[in-house]
Amino acid sequence: MSQLFSKKNREVFSSPISMNNPVTVQVLGICSALAVTAKLEPAIVMGLSVTVITAFSNVVISLLRKTVPNRIRIIVQLVVVAALVTIVSEILKAFAYDVSVQLSVYVGLIITNCILMGRLEAFAMSNGPWESFLDGIGNGLGYAKILVIVAFFRELLGSGTLLNFRIIPQSFYDMGYMNNGLMLMPPMALIIVACIIWFQRSRNKDLQEK
């Protein structure tokens, strides 16, 4: 048991959430971060979907890593990811239809998410299933964290709501307050991601280039 949560394994799990975040440090998976973060709810669902898919595809590829011939490994990885994405997509359609409509093609496009292929190639191909599972969960949550932060600001400032509950009271609107329409457009997601990167790098000296 102690070996399962050794220092190294905890590191594998926690580093992608902060210091080695896939979105803000490696700058991967940006496209979907732009597309699904106009509202908080789809962002949370998207983050969880990616977490589940990354974790289980990591496990599967890690189990197969010694049997897959090197030359066709990308195709095998894609098949595994595609199967998992299809499962998640079907589950969303069955149990969270509204959100799956909002996410539209972006659930399917998880197949092409760079974070997934990156983790499979860089981690699962050379580590055991348990470590790979932790790595997948960690990277998925690191991605989800950024999505949720971005969606929080975009929904709050762009629609005045959070999870579709009205946060900014009507009296503000009566006084002349207006929702910021730019927040609902994809470019603003890039700017918010950039602000998060700015904040993170100004706090961590290790991340700054010399």
Binding site: M178, N180, G181, L182, M183, M185
Partner: protein
């Protein structure tokens, strides 16, 4: 002048290292160099200076903007009194406009300069003077009904994200004032376009009235919404648009006032006549092409000379396109850059029904391409000279 210099010398020690007002060092520095040309010289290398530095350049641009600003104030009052159906003396009209425009200028300067001062102090740099011009440009390119709080947000956004992030004055890719306008345009479209924002409709300090009608469209707005038959007033040369008695953003309406500023900029050599001229040539040619063989819409039928005098075309051509930081720097590049700004502005006006005015987007788009244009101009020059060398 002498007394001022002596006074500055007397209070200077307070702002130096260890002085009690050291926290305001950058503020003092900024004002001192604004009032007097600094007498420090470069210590190393060879430098060529002329008598003018960037603070003096900025001041001349601000002076060149004054005629358009004053006329804009008068026109704000004129449009308001016309909408309210009231008669007013010259001073009532001007006073009304002055009171409507002044808060915008103050807000824009306080927010923009405030951020500049904080950043300069924080990074331990000198105050940079770029905001002197942006601060007066911003209130001149917004509609008069634009609320102050969104103006403040937009100014803060553009100073931080269009300027400080790139390294401050002289490093920005985009024109700061236009980014402010673009932010407002996309974030708060209800306050930046349509027909209810161009004329102020409340009385200020007892001046003006409370008109029942609150809509007054700009000529371009009328052209964009009038199907495929152009109203008579727009199909001949529009003298109102030439003098500036039309609804529009505060400083952009009068061709005459802008022309006075343009002359000043050209005489002092601050703006490039190449850019300015080619914007007009590009716009006129494109608009003429649409006149001859365009789609059957009212905007396409708008005569080319009216295109040039309406909306923000003149203002953009004179004060925005010629911005030395964001425009092309090679001499040939200036022709290409200006021509494309004029052409794209008209294309957006005519072909995009959502945007009656295209000048802002055209200039911002060409800001992005300016370095590319320069690169190819330089490359072609290099290869030309290479050929000459090899043929010898």
């Amino acid at each position: 002048m002498k007394a001022l210099r002596n006074y500055l010398d007397k209070i200077k020690p307070n702002f130096e290292e260890g002085g009690k007002l050291h926290a305001f060092r950058s503020v003092f520095d900024g004002f001192e160099t604004f009032l007097f040309v600094p007498n420090s010289t470069s210590k190393s290398g060879t430098h060529i200076h002329d008598a003018i530095d960037s603070k003096r350049i900025m001041s001349i641009v601000v002076i060149a903007l004054i005629p358009a600003l004053l006329f804009g104030m008068y026109n704000v009052g004129y449009q308001h009194y016309a909408l309210a159906g009231m008669e007013g003396t010259f001073w009532q009209l001007f006073g009304y406009g002055f009171l409507a425009v002044l808060p915008k200028i103050i807000v824009s300067y306080i927010v923009g300069l405030g951020i500049e001062f904080v950043v300069a102090q924080w990074k331990n740099e000198e105050i940079q003077e770029g905001f002197l011009v942006s601060g007066i440009l911003i209130p001149m390119i917004v509609p008069v009904e634009c609320p102050l709080w969104i103006l403040a947000i937009a100014t803060a956004f553009s100073v931080i994200f269009a300027k400080e992030i790139f390294g401050g004055t002289g490093m920005n890719v985009f024109n700061v004032a236009l980014i402010t306008r673009a932010f407002l345009f996309f974030a708060y479209p209800a306050k930046m376009s349509g027909d209810a924002v161009w004329v102020s409709h409340e009385s200020i300090c007892g001046l003006g009235g409370n008109p029942d009608v609150v809509t007054a469209a700009t000529p371009l707005g009328i052209a964009a919404t009038s199907g495929n038959v152009l109203p008579d007033s727009l199909s001949q040369f529009n003298w109102d648009a030439f003098w500036g008695f039309i609804p529009g953003s505060i400083g952009e309406t009068s061709v005459v006032a802008i022309a006075i500023g343009a002359v000043l900029l050209l005489v002092t050599g601050i703006a490039s006549w190449k850019t300015m001229l080619s914007v007009f040539v590009g716009g006129a040619l494109t608009a003429w092409l649409f006149n001859v063989a365009g789609p059957d819409t009212a905007v396409a039928h708008l005569p080319w000379y009216n295109h040039l005098i309406m909306g923000g075309f003149c203002f953009g051509a004179v004060f925005m396109a010629t911005d030395p930081v964001t425009s092309a720097r090679t001499e040939t590049g200036k022709y290409i850059y200006g021509f494309l700004i004029g052409a794209i502005a008209i294309v957006i006006r005519v072909l995009n029904p959502g945007y009656p005015e295209g000048m802002m987007l055209a200039i911002l788009l060409m800001n992005v391409f300016a370095p590319l244009i320069d690169y190819y101009v330089v490359q072609s020059n290099i290869s030309k000279r290479m050929k000459r060398l090899n043929n010898k």
